[in-house]
Symmetry: C2
Subunit: 204 residues, 2 copies
């Protein structure tokens, strides 16, 4: 009875098609213009069809977010390869900043907008960001073991490093950095310097 398998396969293909349409909309127009109707039009189906495959928009965005985190994990794996833990930490930070600035729309979905987190309630936990954060924690644990950083607890350390990176990117993406009254290049430079200075600060 191969029909059930084929149907299941077709179902997954459709889910994938919807995700890719949504991802494309996000990349091209940003999250504000990514409506169910736009996604439906992009994949040449009616809006109602999307609701046969996803409970609501939040659930769809959650899956798109998962896709984005897979991309980030892949980039980390490619860019943060140093054997020395602290060097790897530096690679992680700069890669993160670069990813955020080059993929502002995706960064929005991953770390700023509330929507995809609505599916994560009560007991259910957020697994999308797990791998990337785990990689950071692991690297910081090695840094601590080898006494390369002024931290004691790898989790607290990871949160602090992450918050610093996210803070800089988020303030930039959401234009609050305009308070500095700088040109685009100056801002980019200042953000880079801030991370660099911070890494110097935590180094033993």
């Amino acid at each position: 009875m191969g029909i059930a398998e084929r149907k299941e396969r077709e179902r997954l293909e459709m889910r994938e098609r919807i995700i890719q349409g949504a991802l494309q909309m996000f990349l091209e127009e940003g999250y504000e213009k990514t409506s169910i109707r736009n996604i439906a039009e992009k994949i040449e189906y009616s809006p109602a069809t999307i609701y046969l495959y996803y409970k609501d928009k939040d659930e769809l965005l959650y899956e798109v977010q998962k896709q984005c985190f897979d991309m980030l994990a892949e980039i980390f794996q490619k860019e943060a390869t140093a054997h020395d833990p602290f060097t790897r930490l530096e690679q992680i930070c700069y890669t993160y900043i670069k990813f955020g600035r080059e993929n502002a729309q995706l960064y929005d979905l991953m770390f700023i907008i509330k929507a995809p987190m609505n599916v994560v309630v009560e007991q259910k936990l957020w697994t999308n960001g797990h791998d990337a954060f785990g990689f950071l924690v692991h690297t910081l644990r090695q840094c601590i073991e080898q006494k390369q950083v002024r931290f004691k607890d790898p989790i607290t350390a990871a949160l602090q490093v992450w918050a610093m990176g996210h803070g800089l990117i988020a303030l930039d993406i959401r234009c609050r950095i305009k308070v500095l009254e700088m040109t685009e290049e100056q801002v980019q430079c200042t953000i880079h310097d801030s991370i660099k200075e911070y890494l110097e600060l935590i180094k033993y």
Copy 2:
């Protein structure tokens, strides 16, 4: 001819009434449920009337944001009074974190959502955040002069401190901190520890 003056006064009163209605909606329901229609209903006017006093929603939100920044500045003035610059820096940080966690909806409008920044384009600069940021820069300049912190440039320093604080609050408000798999109290504690540890880090 006092009529013109009275009309101008009435106009300002109406603008104020709209802002207060919007602010109330923000405080009670958050920005997602703050629609022009809701604000209009709250102040007992038709939605169209709001457009006689504000060009669009972004312009209104910008004014509400200004009000929020005035509130923050007032709180800073009340809470960060220490004569010693570094102590004052600590007060600023803890006050900022406290404000963010206690007024998540306002924090959203001030630092996270894009809308109010749309009115700030090209030449026009963002004055809402000027005072609060200036206060931080001023404090850090004094810290640097008295060699209390491991920073050279007060602007870069201010950006870094701000980014750290904002990063922690933003990740919390937008639920990304769920990756830590902690209880609400643990999160609150970890955020506080992170700031504390960071302040230790930058102290000479």
